[in-house]
């Protein structure tokens, strides 16, 4: 059972990583990051079966932080869109050295 769960979360995580690396749309990248977070959550839950309830408690924390982060992140993206009328990351390089 644990093997399947870990395999599944690994697949989810990889999809998230590939999404972050290949896409240019900020919203989609954001969603891919959420996917990676949830893949990690799944791993926590799976391991809690072996090592006790700490993993499940941690998942609650991660979801809380993820919710907050989603709120802030989406707000930033909306703000960027209002200024530049685009959320394509290739056009957003204000941090260029």
């Amino acid at each position: 059972m644990i093997n399947e769960a870990l395999f599944f979360s690994a697949v989810l995580f990889t999809i998230g990583v590939v999404g972050v690396l290949t896409r240019r749309n900020a919203i989609i990248i954001f969603m891919c990051v959420e996917l990676m977070l949830n893949a990690v959550n799944l791993t926590f839950v799976a391991f809690s079966k072996l090592y006790g309830a700490a993993g499940q408690i941690f998942v609650i924390f991660v979801m809380t932080v993820a919710a907050a982060e989603a709120a802030v992140g989406l707000a930033i993206i909306i703000s960027i869109f209002r200024h530049r009328e685009t959320v394509n990351l290739e056009n957003i390089n204000l941090l260029k050295g």
């Binding site: 990583v17 690396l21 990351l89 290739e90 957003i92 204000l94 941090l95 260029k96 050295g97």
Partner: protein
């Protein structure tokens, strides 16, 4: 100051006498230095904004400065001489501290006479100066027969020269500064001769070097004077290096640095061994610097850039004789090292002859005296080299008298010449003998006194120089006959041959001394005056404050020989005690002298002695006669004729140019160093390596790294994400497969 341990001198015959006040000797002049130094901080005068000389600043040497270049004198022409506001205080404090010091020295001397036979030095320990592990150097003074002789000369002649300075320097704006330096010099000189160990002596040694530098460059606003000071300082550093190496060798091998300790442990050293020879040769290197011997003599003639009383005190009577004192003080080492002693005697003889030949063709009156000093110091080194330490100290004393007299007399001449030229606004050289002549009519007292000194230095009988010079030449001759030096050999040449050569060179130098001194007198005082009518009307004897010390010195120059009358003289004319100085210094250097003479008080036979004396007197007398017959017409000529004679050819030209030694040193040492400094050290190391590579190089590296870093910061979030992923994979890979 009174921290000395009661145990140190409890049993000594001198404890409880005036000798307990030993520490006050250097402190008195030091107090004078502090007072005069504070006074010198006050500017010479307050010049109003309309005063044209205001731009010169308070420190600029204005007023009376005989030795300065004439072109600096435009500003004050027609102005009254500018006195320092506190000149009168400095005139009192400066000489007074010296007089007090001299009075104390005399009372200590009287106490020593009263204490009877003193066989061990009276050592006063004041505080622990350098306690460092096994090395514990105490600040201690040592009073013995040798150091009191030096102290009496320094404070006695010093007092006279201080008094003379009142007249000579009073109208200089830097007057209190001058006395401050002079007082400081005497203080250090007393530390030098009183120090009970080599390190304490070294402090005095360096201190007098500093004061010499300060006083040579006293009129530092002229570059030539400042350069002369620097030259003296740098050349002396070479000698001091030798002195330091000798101190290190002594500590490393003997484990002691105080004179008593080194003397005691030197008994362990093998006589004539490499170690003791090395120590002595390094000590002698120090002497060649301080006492202006070949090869380091070149600074002393240039040192004449300082005020003339400074030349008299520092560069004739006291500081330059420190090397002679050092050898006499270290006699227990030098008597163990025949090769080093032979070297000392040979270098002394060559210097005596070499400098005397240069003195023959100099036109600057002070330069003649400077080369004469170098030559006479050579005599002293002949004496201490051949182990006649008493003769060396004897000549040191008589030389202090007659050379101080000669310098102060030339100071009076320069003072008068300068005053005359100053009055008529002419800018001729007040020190050039070609401008003088016939001064005997204007300055009869100085004329007579200078002749006394000239006869003394030439070695005419009954004057002081005759006895001391004769004793040196006699000792050199006697040692060639029978001594450890004669048995040794220097660079393969037997010691006796070296010593006979030393004697011969000394004799020729005596002849040359008589010639150049008579020449100086002829050009200065005889013949017709070569200034103008207007100048002549201004010439008169220098003030009494200057002539008075000259008279005292003339008496000493005439009768200084009574310090140490030889037996052959008292046999004929029983007018005084025989060999007083010999007896007096016997506890200090007697043992070392006996060691060199194979334990016997080797005396020459009476006949040999008479022949030697006859030769020396003949050399002196014929020197004076030669000078009179050959130079009299020239000296009596007009100024133009004298100047024509200045253009020499052949050997005369070589002599007038001082054998081109300065030029050779410039080419061989100074220029290479300057070129290496400029091309390699400055352009190469400083500009190239340090500025280029280190300073600018590190800036370039930082800028390059910054550029690369900014290129990484593309601002593309995707690129960053790739970097993160690659990094994570690398870390994971390292953990998994590492």
């Amino acid at each position: 100051m009174l921290l000395q341990h009661a145990a140190a001198g409890a049993a000594h015959p001198l404890s409880g006498t005036a000798a307990e006040w030993l520490w006050l000797l250097p402190v008195l002049p030091l107090a004078g230095f502090v007072v005069n130094g504070l006074l010198s901080l006050v500017p010479a005068y307050h010049a109003g904004p309309a005063d044209p000389s205001a731009t010169h600043g308070g420190d600029h040497a204005e007023g009376m400065h005989a030795d300065q270049h004439p072109e600096d004198e435009h500003a004050e022409a027609g102005h009254p001489p500018i006195l320092h506001r506190f000149a009168s205080i400095a005139s009192i404090v400066g000489p007074l501290v010296l007089a007090l010091s001299f009075a104390l020295a005399v009372s200590i001397f009287v106490a020593m006479l009263g204490a009877g036979e003193i066989h061990t030095p009276f050592i006063q320990r004041y505080f622990s100066w350098m306690p460092a592990g096994e090395l514990n150097i105490e600040w201690a003074y040592q009073l013995d027969q040798l150091s009191i002789v030096m102290v009496l000369i320094i404070t006695g002649v010093g007092t006279l020269i201080h008094v003379f300075s009142i007249g000579y320097m009073r109208e200089d704006p830097g007057y209190p500064r001058y006395f401050a330096y002079l007082n400081l010099f005497v203080s250090f000189m007393l530390v030098l001769v009183l120090g009970a160990s080599y390190p304490v002596m070294f402090i005095g040694w360096e201190g007098v070097g500093l004061c010499s530098y300060l006083l040579i460059g006293f009129w530092f606003s002229a570059k030539a004077n400042a350069d002369a000071g620097k030259k003296a300082f740098i050349v002396n550093r070479i000698g001091d290096f030798g002195f330091l190496v000798a101190i290190f060798l002594m500590y490393a091998n003997l484990g002691a640095l105080d004179f008593a300790g080194v003397a005691e442990r030197s008994a362990q050293l093998a006589a004539g061994g490499t170690l003791v020879t090395a120590i002595c040769l390094f000590l002698f290197l120090g002497c060649t610097g301080k006492s202006a011997q070949i090869p380091l003599y070149t600074w002393l003639p240039d040192a004449m850039a300082g005020p003339t009383p400074v030349s008299a005190l520092i560069h004739a009577a006291t500081m330059v004789t420190a090397g002679v004192y050092l050898v006499a003080r270290s006699s227990f080492l030098f008597s163990l090292a025949p090769v080093a002693s032979l070297t000392v005697a040979l270098v002394g003889a060559v210097t005596a002859l070499f400098a005397a030949t240069i003195g023959l063709k100099q036109w600057d009156i002070k330069k003649v005296l400077a080369y004469s000093t170098v030559s006479q110091l050579g005599y002293m080194f002949i004496a201490v080299g051949v182990g006649a330490y008493v003769a060396g100290v004897f000549h040191l004393a008589t030389h202090a008298f007659f050379k101080a007299l000669l310098f102060l007399g030339s100071g009076s001449v320069i003072y008068v010449m300068h005053k005359a030229y100053h009055h008529t606004h002419r800018h001729d050289d007040a020190q050039d003998m070609r401008n003088m002549g016939g001064l005997r009519r204007h300055m009869p007292v100085t004329f007579v006194l200078m002749w006394v000194a000239t006869l003394a230095i030439a070695g005419i009988p009954v004057f002081a120089g005759f006895f001391s010079k004769d004793e040196i030449l006699g000792a050199a001759f006697a040692r060639a006959h029978e001594s450890t030096l004669a048995d040794a050999s220097l660079l393969g040449i037997p010691g006796s041959i070296v010593l006979y050569a030393v004697y011969a060179m000394g004799l020729i130098a005596a002849l040359l001394t008589a010639i150049y001194m008579t020449r100086m007198m002829l050009y200065t005082f005889h013949g017709d005056n070569r200034t103008g009518e207007a100048e002549r009307s201004q010439m008169s004897e220098a003030p009494w404050v200057m002539t008075g010390p000259l008279i005292v010195l003339a008496v000493l120059s005439a009768f200084g020989g009574w310090l140490n009358l030889p037996e052959f003289f008292t046999d004929v004319l029983p007018l005084g005690k025989t060999a007083s100085l010999d007896h007096w210094l016997e506890p200090v250097v007697g043992e070392a002298t006996l060691r060199i003479t194979h334990g016997s008080a080797a005396h020459l036979s009476a006949n040999t002695e008479y022949v030697l004396v006859g030769l020396a007197v003949a050399a002196a007398a014929s020197g004076i006669l030669i000078a009179f017959t050959m130079l009299k017409p020239a000296a009596q000529g007009t100024k133009e004729q004298a100047e024509v004679r200045g253009t020499d050819t052949g050997i005369e030209r070589v002599l007038a140019n001082k054998y081109y030694v300065d030029e050779a040193y410039d080419a061989a040492v100074v220029n290479p160093i300057v070129q290496v400094s400029r091309k390699l050290l400055w352009r190469g190391v400083d500009v190239g390596l340090i500025d280029g590579l280190f300073v600018n190089g590190s800036a370039w590296v930082a800028r390059g790294l910054g550029l690369a870093g900014s290129w990484v910061q593309s601002g593309q979030v995707g690129t960053y994400a790739w970097a993160i992923v690659v990094g994570v994979l690398a870390v994971l890979g390292a953990f998994t497969f590492g």
